[in-house]
Amino acid sequence: MQKSVLRKSIEIIIFIVFIFFLFAPLLSLGIWSVALRWYWPHTLPQKIGFDYWLQALGITKSLTLGAVNVIPAFLLSLGIGIIVVIITMAIATPAGYALAKLKIPALLKGIILILFLLPRAFPQQPVFVNLMLMFNKIGLTGTVIGVIFVHLVVSLVYAVWITASTFSSIPPELEEAARSVGASRLKAFLRITLPISAPGLIASAVFVFLTSMDEFTGTFFVGLPFVTTLPMTLYSASGSNIQFASVTAILLLIPSILFMVLIQRFLKAEYLGGMGG
């Protein structure tokens, strides 16, 4: 009896500590985004309001120092994200299919797999530095196209893994049954494999989209100062105005949480670790 009371209290303490450390940093972001005046050491802001939200969203005009308008940055990130999803999926889906379903000599397959594991295993920042040097020569630094290329590299590896794992989970008998009654390989793929693997492919596309939306390091080297995506806007606001930075951070975390809740059950745990380097 006494033991179970002790156990319950320990559980409650764990829960409170857990909730505090999980949510207090988020709460800090939320409060700062609506704090108009907050002097130390008051527990809560003296004056709250949505002024910074309205200014950041471009609804009211802003004269504040370090003001940002996140709408253009958001649209830019959205546009880059959509293009990156299209290109990445167009390249990754065939590659994932070939790796999972078709015969490739063991040695070559091994080399390809190593190639696709390297970016996850080694730090990517030095790669971006040299990519920037490469892009300098061909005039891609500071351009949207350059940034799209960077996001493509970052997300392609994950997209290939996820699509390959989706395709390999489909029993080969299905496609072979279709082919035995005369369907071509392409037709069997389009009519059988593609519909079954749709959830996995959609999950992969969403993952790619979020990777592009959140990408920081590559854009920092290849894109700045001309291509200001949402994370770059957050970075520059962070040094000058805490309210604008908080608003931008919240806008950036909403799609991440929303989409990931929807797709996480389609993804293997290992892939999630790559989010938002």
Binding site: A24, A121, A269
Partner: protein
């Protein structure tokens, strides 16, 4: 079995007189056509700059082959290299212990509170590091909520708040972001262990510490090692968070030094030498990771 079926299909195609030559040669090169674009992108935009960072680290400012960049790197950034390694090891260690404990709790407790924690803990996994950085900048600031909270509990003097914009805040943020990811992987491993093992251990009088150290951890060693490896490697290479939290201070992580070398000095030689140091730091674990993924099969 599959091969039999396939040869049977070929035979049947022969019988029906469908053109055999063309489809077969087409099938032979089809895999290469399909993987070609993806491999080319990785070769050109990843592997080439990856190898270039080794090569360029040996090219001095005057354009000759030398160790000058390494000499300069060790002279200027010796301490930062150790700092990076120290913070990463510490963060990985804390995150590992914390996540194993929480995963054990979530595996064994069926209470309402445990279920809530089991859902909520995933949140940080989905947040990008930039957002975590901004969060920690305000949460851990000298006049931030955390110091305010400690002052309300009378744990610190409000006139003299704790400073977190150093290795402590960095470690806190790293653990906050990465421990949940480790829990996700480790808990999935724990859940593969059948209840009967735990029940059997209990029936012969095993206490919780024994269940953890004799059953749960040993049976999950590969999973835990993979989690440790992934976290260690991504923390060594993490740029946004240290840059935004302690970017203008010393000591900093070498990712910050690389950015400074490139942005302020245009010194790619030293930047790449620092990059090579970061490769060396992860090398053992990275090779372990690649080998174990190759053995396990990436997507099976």
């Amino acid at each position: 079995m599959t091969n039999n079926l396939r040869s049977e299909l070929v035979v049947r195609e022969n019988e029906t007189g469908v053109g055999v030559e063309r489809p077969r040669s087409y099938t032979n090169i089809l895999p290469y056509i399909l993987v070609f674009p993806a491999v080319m992108v990785i070769l050109l935009l990843y592997l080439y700059p990856f190898l270039a960072s080794f090569w360029k680290s040996f090219i001095s400012k005057e354009g000759v082959l030398s160790l000058a960049n390494y000499e300069k790197t060790l002279r200027l950034y010796r301490y930062d290299i150790l700092f990076t390694l120290g913070v990463t090891v510490l963060s990985t260690l804390i995150a590992t212990v914390l996540s194993i404990l929480l995963a054990v709790y979530l595996r064994l407790s069926k209470s309402w509170l445990a279920n809530r924690i089991g859902i909520l803990y995933r949140l940080p996994i989905f947040l990008p590091f930039v957002v975590v950085a901004q969060m920690m900048r305000s949460f851990l600031a000298p006049h931030g909520i955390f110091n305010l909270f400690l002052a309300k509990l009378d744990l610190i003097n409000i006139e003299n708040p704790l400073q977190f914009f150093n290795w402590t805040g960095l470690t806190f943020g790293f653990v906050w972001k990465e421990a949940p990811f480790m829990i996700l992987i480790i808990l999935a491993g724990f859940q593969m262990i059948d209840d009967s093992y735990i029940e059997a251990a209990k029936s012969v009088g095993a206490k919780l510490p024994q269940i953890i150290t004799k059953i749960l951890i040993p049976m999950n060693k590969p999973t835990i090692l993979i989690a440790v490896t992934l976290v260690f490697c991504s923390l060594i290479g993490c740029f946004s968070f240290p840059y935004m939290l302690i970017g203008g201070k010393t000591p900093v992580t070498i990712t910050v030094d690389i950015a400074h070398r490139v942005n302020y000095f245009g010194d790619y030689g030293v930047a790449n030498a620092l990059g090579v140091f970061s490769y060396i730091m992860v090398s053992f674990l990275a090779i372990y990771y690649i080998r174990s993924m190759m053995r396990k099969g990436l997507y099976d």
